[in-house]
């Protein structure tokens, strides 16, 4: 495992709120093992807006105290086994949400606003269990128009993987703008990339349009195939068979441990 990934992981300290992207948007799987070796636990994960393999592995490794998410799943490979077990055992706390509510919370943080209003949610048990959300009567309505307020979600750290960065610290995220939203909202952003290029991504308007400026990026490290076994848009496809193997192995705590030990060489 490259030392820079280990150094990046050491930014994560116990109890921090960590934002992680959805499966198809650039999950830094390369950071999963460094995070586990770093060992900082009691983490509060914010899935943007859903979680998968990485979330399941961090839970399996015992690092997670709370998951704020719209879903955790392995997609075609089925339910997330360590997440499901932890829910059953009551060893993690849950903030069940709906996708646009997570986006709304991040947008509030991006704008420095205390909250965003959002339609929907009224009458759901999601709302009933979220004591950190509020319902007010729409002040612009004629009365009797309840609307939910979502407070700003301000992660300590956002972690994701992208196709490329330049040596000035700018990261190309293309149309996966939720990665920018995560970075705007978070105090620190750690990024792994397939490769670092010499040219300045901002000096060409075409690449600039899909670039997250260095202003928002604390650390970058190269990690080729760093989303594996997830895919990365324009680069490589998801290795579904590997996710299936994980899903099957991780049904038990022992199976999970065995899988992680066996894959140590592959992921390092």
């Amino acid at each position: 495992m490259p030392g820079d990934l280990r150094a990046m992981a050491s930014c994560v300290r116990p109890g921090m709120r960590i934002a992680l992207p959805v499966d198809y948007a650039g999950v830094s799987m390369a950071m999963t093992r460094p995070l586990i070796e770093n060992g900082a636990g009691d983490l509060h994960l914010v899935c943007v807006p859903t979680g998968g393999l990485q979330v399941d592995q961090l839970i399996g490794a015992g690092l997670v105290a709370m998951v704020e998410t719209s879903a955790v799943s392995l997609g075609e490979a089925g339910g997330a086994p360590r997440f499901n077990q932890a829910v059953k055992d009551g060893t993690i706390r849950l903030r069940d949400a709906t996708c646009p509510a997570i986006h709304a919370g991040l947008m509030a943080a991006q704008k420095g606003s205390p909250f965003l209003s959002i339609r929907g949610l009224i009458g759901s048990d999601l709302l009933r269990h979220r004591d950190d959300w509020r319902v007010i009567d729409n002040p612009f309505g004629a009365g009797g128009d309840p609307v939910v307020l979502i407070p700003a979600i301000t992660p300590d750290i956002a972690i994701f993987h992208a196709p490329l960065a330049d040596r000035f610290g700018n990261v190309w995220i293309g149309r996966r703008r939720e990665l920018a939203a995560m970075a705007y909202a978070s105090a620190l952003t750690l990024v792994t990339v397939e490769r670092i290029v010499r040219r300045n991504l901002l000096s060409d308007e075409t690449t600039a349009a899909g670039t997250l400026p260095a202003l928002y990026v604390a650390e970058i490290a190269e990690a080729p195939r760093g989303a594996w076994p997830y895919g990365l848009w324009g680069e490589y496809a998801t290795d579904t068979a590997e996710i299936m193997r994980y899903a099957s192995a991780a049904r038990s705590a022992e199976g999970f441990a065995g899988y992680m030990a066996a894959r140590a060489g592959v992921q390092a």
Partner: protein
């Protein structure tokens, strides 16, 4: 001789019928059947209008450029006409549960979670509940957890909501005023007694309900040709399975 419609082809054709008049439909990443129905609708409409189909997580059928928030923003703007929702449980008031059963938060069985349901169910005018498994454990009298409610009290801003429920056994439409489901048709091979036994909630029905229409020859040809080809790009496993079923059903030469 044209091979008789497979059960999945009846479902896909039914989905296409439910999408009549729709201009923009979105389907989830793991929803091959709704995607196929949408592709069929698109093919049927293309001489008159362009049906936009957004498949979440797909690259080929993704014309969004503002990240994963854009689908929801689109729905909030009223630019999304139809969407599909499943559910670990669906009840007679069209409440859906995507979270789990046996307590919350410490659920005995936990499902992935509510995804965008608690928003899209309110904002998309035509939500089609689609769940193939039609058993008393899915079609329940009352869901254990409301990920998204089927109806809302007067005053709650709700341009959207459930239009229909489609399962492997039958098609229901939803009456938002009553509220409740009414049986529209039984799929070929399913009887009313069978349906009543498999359904945990009460619903209205004729004594002798109609049978769900099967696609005609031209539609079947479209389905097995162009739609199957288009589908293969995003759902290769489902497409291969469908082709296998077609091959298996082929009368011996």
């Amino acid at each position: 001789m044209i091979l008789a419609p497979l059960p999945r082809e009846v479902l896909i054709w039914t989905i296409a019928r439910l999408l009549e008049g729709v201009r923009h439909v979105a389907v989830g990443a793991a929803s091959p059947m709704p995607a196929a129905g949408s592709m069929l609708r698109r093919a049927l409409d293309e001489s008159r209008t362009e049906l936009r189909l957004s498949i979440l997580g797909s690259v080929a059928n993704n014309f969004f450029t503002n990240g994963s928030t854009e689908l929801f923003d689109c729905a909030g703007q009223g630019r999304l006409d139809a969407f599909f929702l499943g559910g670990g449980q669906i009840d007679g008031e069209a409440n859906v549960n995507l979270v789990g059963v046996g307590g919350y938060p410490q659920s005995r069985v936990r499902w992935p979670g509510s995804f965008g349901s608690a928003y899209l169910y309110f904002t998309v005018p035509r939500v089609i509940l689609f769940r193939e498994e039609h058993t008393p454990r899915v079609m329940v009298e009352k869901v254990d957890f409301i990920s998204a409610p089927g109806t809302s009290p007067a005053g709650v801003h709700r341009p959207g909501g459930p239009a229909a429920l489609l399962t492997s056994k039958a098609l229901f439409r939803f009456d938002r005023d009553r509220p409740g489901f009414t049986l529209e048709s039984l799929h070929p091979g399913c009887g009313l007694a069978d349906l009543l036994a498999a359904t945990g909630f009460a619903f209205q029905h004729d004594d002798d309900p109609p049978v769900t229409p099967a696609p005609d020859g031209a539609t079947l040809a479209l389905l097995r040709g162009r739609v199957l080809d288009e589908l293969e790009e995003t759902y290769p496993a489902f497409a291969a399975d469908w082709r296998r079923d077609l091959a298996a059903a082929q009368p011996a030469a």
